[in-house]
């Protein structure tokens, strides 16, 4: 219990420091916020008009996928942030202090939620501009956003672990692309999973990114009537399936990352 409280207390000191730093380099924030706007507009206008979805709007269907893809990509910040702490050497300071051994990771994953909150906000606003709406009430919409954030938070731990393994911002970005691209494309992000060829379809159906997307669409009321109900368990129980993955990812990657943290140091 004491360890947990220390992790939270020290984690909040680290998170505060990270937040201060976000304000000091506003350029980063600008890029973080511009690319989601770009995504929403590009997809809405390039694909949104060209793909027909029976009984609904492809544009509305698409937005949930873009939300999911963007927040999953947001996890890259966690890896890059950790890598930066190692590269700049401040990790050596932290590791020589009598602070909680999980605080740097707890603080980093927490402060990175801010990026995702902001990018969701921006995407929702630009979504509104291009005609996206939620139809199941404010509470359900909030739950949808909450689920997206929770899933992204879990993903942060994976990227945080990778950041400790390969502390180079460039490598992190490339590694992130290699993991996140297939994960977000072989999913229902852009087309319903049923439309994919068999092998990809099975992957997509069990892919947690599909589940979180499905759950969000459901909570936003963005599933067109013309699309057949999913038949596989993960997509029929998308919220539960997403939560299982969240717990699983954190249960596996948080201990791995904390262990790895205890050997991380800058050479100098």
């Amino acid at each position: 219990m004491k360890r947990f409280i220390h992790a939270l207390a020290d984690g909040s000191v680290i998170a505060r420091r990270n937040v201060i730093k976000i304000g000091r380099v506003p350029e980063v924030l600008v890029f973080v916020l511009i690319s989601p706007i770009m995504f929403v507009l590009l997809f809405a206008y390039v694909f949104g008009g060209s793909i027909d979805i029976p009984g609904g709007s492809y544009r509305e269907f698409l937005i949930g996928g873009i939300f999911a893809q963007t927040v999953v990509f947001g996890a890259t910040f966690t890896g890059a942030g950790i890598a930066d702490d190692i590269h700049k050497g401040i990790i050596n300071r932290f590791r020589s202090l009598p602070m909680s051994q999980s605080a740097v990771l707890v603080g980093r994953t927490a402060s990175d939620v801010i990026y995702n909150v902001l990018s969701l906000l921006i995407m929702a606003l630009s979504g509104f501009v291009v005609g996206w709406r939620f139809h199941e009430g404010l509470l359900n919409a909030a739950l949808g956003f909450g689920l997206l954030l929770l899933f992204a938070y879990a993903f942060s731990w994976i990227m945080g672990y990778i950041g400790l393994l390969v502390p180079s911002v460039e490598v992190i970005n490339n590694a992130a692309f290699m993991v996140i691209f297939p994960l977000t494309f072989i999913a229902n992000t852009f087309v319903p999973a049923e439309n994919l060829p068999t092998v990809l379809r099975v992957f997509a159906e069990w892919n947690p990114v599909s589940a979180v997307t499905q759950a969000a669409r459901d909570l936003f009321g963005n599933l067109p009537a013309g699309i057949p109900e999913p038949t596989v368990w993960p997509l029929r129980n998308a919220v539960l399936y997403t939560l299982i993955w969240v717990v699983l990812i954190i249960a596996v990657f948080a201990p791995l990352a904390v262990r790895r943290y205890q050997t991380a140091a800058k050479r100098g």
Binding site: R24, K88, N92, R93, R95, M99
Partner: protein, 329 residues
Amino acid sequence: MANAIEAYGLVKKYGKVTALAGLDLAAAEGTVLGVLGPNGAGKTTAVSILTTLIEPDAGEATIAGIDLRKDPHGVRSRIGLSGQAVAVDEQLTGFENLDMIGRLYRLGRTRSRERATELLERFDLTEAAGRTIKTYSGGMRRRLDLAGALIAEPPVLFLDEPTAGLDPRSRNDLWTVIRELVGRGTTLLLTTQYLEEADQLANDIVVIDHGREIAHGTSRQLKRMIGGERIEVAVISHEDTPKVQRILAAHASGEIQHDPATNTLVAPIAGGAEILTQVLRALDAEGVMVEDIGLRRPTLDDVFLAITGRHAEEAPVATGEAVAAGGTA
């Protein structure tokens, strides 16, 4: 007196490189232990092990009576570290950096701020307290990093090449601060490539090379081994060399060395400027033309020559900060 730092048989290997090959270190409470060695000798590795950053392959250590392996957290709460590479956050201000470190030492909000303000004042950084570290000079960063190590007033302090890359004035300032600290009973392990620095600050000096001790003693004991100041003469004409050799021999306190490549002679002497004047007069009387002549204090290289009969492999450079691109240990 109890030893605040005690280490036995520290071994650390990186693949084929043996960074530490069974190093023992000991510092009595309230004293300064100087660890002197050229680049790559294993100084940073030793400091990293003793500050819990890396684990040794073999060996034992206690810091302030606490076993390093059994209770690393306990060790961390009793030490301060200012590493070879400055470890402060570039994008935070001086005050924010210190306050953050104080909070992480669990000083509490009020105490942490108090200490940050005190230390900024003491290190002459009050004016820069609200500026981000990006705008700091090398000397200011060093001072702030040291302040970070001191914020919780830890009983044991580790400083890894604290003056590397500093200009002479900043170096002297830092020396003053370090002396003050030790005057208050802090135990200090200090690494350096400069014999002069170890001489100025340390009670006890361990000279290391390739991860092992090659000499150990007080500054006075080491000096007895290597002699004091030297006269160095670069002679223009080789014909004059024997004459210079003879003149120097009359004043030298030990063996004279000759480097034929630069035609430079080096003679250890017992006095200082006085002897230099006498040598100059003698050279003048014999009509010898010299390219350069001067007094030189013994360096780490001279220690190596005296102890091992060879030069230190990597001559210490003025800016000894060789920082490898980020990598996990």
